[in-house]
Amino acid sequence: MPLDMRLLIENEVLPFVRKPGRYLGNEWNSVRKTWNAAQVRMVFAFPDVYEIGMSHLGLQILYGLVNQHPQYLMERVFAPGVDLEELLRTKGIPLFSLESCRPLKDFDVVGFTLQYELSFTNILNMLDLAGIPLQSRNREASDPLVIAGGPGAFNPEPLADFIDLFLIGDSEESLPELLSRLQALKQEGANRQQVIFQMAQISGVYAPSLYQPVYAPDGRLQETAPDLEGIPGRVAKRLVKDLDEAYFPLRPIVPTVEVVHDRIMLEVLRGCTRGCRFCQAGTIYRPVRERSQKVLLNQAMQVYWATGHEEISLTSLSTADYSCVQPLTTKLLDLFQEHRVGISLPSLRVDAFSVDLAQEIQRVRRSGLTFAPEAGTQRLRDMINKGVTEEDLFNAAKKAFRAGWHSIKLYFMIGLPMEQNEDLDGIVSLAYRVLAIGRRIKRETNQKKSPSVTISVSSFVPKAHTPFQWAAQDAIAELKRKQHYLKSRLKDRGIEVKWHQSETSFLEGVFARGDRRLGRVLEIAWNKGCKFDSWQEHFKFETWMESFAEAGIDPHYYTRMIPLDEVLPWDHIDSGVSKRYLIKEYQAALELVHTGDCRFDKCPGCGVCFELNVDVILKGGTGDAPSPNRIR
């Protein structure tokens, strides 16, 4: 059977699709295990195309981790391109795993990663292509367990109808436990209900079918509580306490097809405590846990020889904050110079230190530099707790233009709470002043190339587990007005403005704070053909609005301002950061009060270290640690 399936796919499917290399599963370092030798078989499902999925470090970590156990097997599947999907449907071929060309139904576990809300319809589409019932309650003994993890699992409710189990937090902690428990339960011949009940006892595992939301007559949520004895009322996230001890894939898969992030990813730290009040990652990945230089250098060398990549990226939420970033980059540059391996930083802070760092590692100024002041005025930057001043930005810009970069990209957000036209004017003014700095330096240094500034404007989306989770989201019309306002004032050939479609931001906002009732909308929209919603060419806003109407749900309910005492759909999911702290931060925002970073300032009392019995781990000691004045 599998041999036939492989031949069928090789001869009658792959010759007719774009970039067939995405569906082969034979990349360098991919793992092909003997099917029958494995006790538990899982397929990692990424609900977007291969090029995006293969750029995701989490996939490589879990793939390596699970496959290092002889009794487990993990394969991969991605959302098929539109051309492949059409062929699969007309020929009646089920969605298959890449490595062994097996139908997804043959696996014990199908595990989705939830990286962004607008991938949810792809999950339904992939389940359907696999012939797995969409709704958990319609699945039978022979169907795989459908699980999901990643940041999206922190508000799991919109997917509660479709996912059997959610893994909250760092899955490298809970997944091996889940697989081992499943192996035992399989041997005992446990039925589906028993399996789900047993799994729900594993710390960090949330089984939505065992929790019932209760709504008040006016439609507001009253509680989401377990209806069985022995099931925890709240599910706390799992976390890796020490990154030096954590598993890291030393033989990651090297894609043959070019992917978005085609390079070695070294994870220098996890978590960020800068405390930007809009940022979900800043809460759910707390606290900061750094990896030591010694471990990183060793990993870099091993991964290089195992992959042959030409670039190493130092990844994290904010790599310039890594306490050993300077000595580490210097050592990496020295070590890899003879191999012509470049080092890159995915994100820079808005300061001169970051530009120095970029200058040191990027000997060739190929691309531009990107900074994220996020808001146009000091007042609004204080409100979101982004400790960046105009002076920081101008100093960074000066340094960058002097060092030979020609283009600077600035990230801003519109639609933030308390935003006024004056804040939009602030964006305009910053753009022109940065451009003026570039032009002045061009004249002074007789450069040929004209400087350019790109203003990338995204729309604020309130996210669960952040201090702004109660805030209202701007209506589509209001976002459009603000975009237009900016556009009409940013007219210079040296300035390019980019923005996000406000309809997409609206839908993202609905699902980001959505509840279980949205499951119906999701299914209706998928039925009407919605998929790849994050791709502008596929996004069907009208169809979405029809689907809300059909389900009898007003989407604006989910983008409104929520009273502080209202029960939230994700209240039973515990990030370790207390709700009391989030409220305090929300109020501090309204009062424009700054909250410090616990790495350099006093503990602001978010609660995560106490709650989850974990410590902030900084490897730099006092000598290398970034000084508080660099981290405002």
Binding site: G21, W28, E258
Partner: protein, 232 residues
């Protein structure tokens, strides 16, 4: 700096690898095998390697070639061995040989290619009818087909570029052997020859789902064509 010729096969699933992907794959294999490939100067250095002739996605290559420039003298045997261990499934080193400094690039030498094509039949045909059709095709002075180009469809006369053509019936398939013009002076694609056989002499071949194997590349030798690998 020494020039090396690498003769290799691209087989099985590797046929789905595009030329661009293949270049990246070799570059990374050289790194994994610690082959001291020389890099170009400038802002965006790239490895000094070039292929004799790109191979289309979906086609296998039995004897393909690329040349590289290395920074230091290397032991060819151990280089071949290290490379073999560093290449993904479907790519196989056949031989690594030195190239004389003054020989023209492999790319400049290629004038033709031998192919083996297997095609399903779209209707019945006897061995005799098949041979007659091939003879009829070879007797044509031109055979124009519409080629899918980068800038939309355009006509091409493939006949002058067909140097040799034979066919054999094997069960439900036809096996075609052909020598075609290839290289920088002009290129005829085997799938276009199949198209021409359908269109101009009415051979009942299924034009799609072809199995294409490029058997060898041809250079101009002292007496007519010679296999590229034996032309040094």
């Amino acid at each position: 700096m020494p020039r090396l010729q690498i003769e290799f096969a691209k087989e099985g699933l590797a046929r789905f690898t595009s030329h661009l992907e293949l270049m990246k794959t070799w570059e990374r294999a050289f790194r994994r095998a610690a082959v001291p490939v020389s890099y170009s100067e400038g802002f965006n250095p790239h490895p000094r390697m070039s292929f004799a002739l790109p191979l289309a996605v979906g086609s296998e290559g039995a004897r393909d070639y690329l040349e590289i420039i290395v920074k230091t003298e290397v032991d060819l045997g151990s280089l071949a061995e290290a490379l073999s261990r560093a290449l993904p499934e479907g790519l196989r080193v056949i031989a690594v040989t030195p190239l004389p400094d003054d020989s023209p690039s492999l790319m400049a030498q290629v004038v033709g290619a031998n192919y083996l094509i297997r095609s399903f039949l779209s209707g019945p045909v006897s061995a005799e009818e098949l041979n007659n059709a091939i003879e009829a095709f070879l007797a044509l002075s031109e055979a124009v087909v519409t080629k899918e180009g980068k800038h939309g469809p355009k006509p091409q006369d493939v006949r002058p570029g067909v140097y040799c053509l034979q066919a054999e019936l094997t069960g439900s398939k036809v096996e075609l052997s052909m020598a075609l013009k290839a290289g920088s002076q002009g290129n005829v694609r085997p799938e276009d020859v199949v198209k021409a056989l359908i269109r101009h002499v009415g051979l009942p071949l299924k034009g799609e789902g072809l199995q294409i194997i490029r058997l060898d590349l041809l250079a101009r030798g002292p007496q007519g064509f010679a296999a590229l690998g034996e032309n040094q």
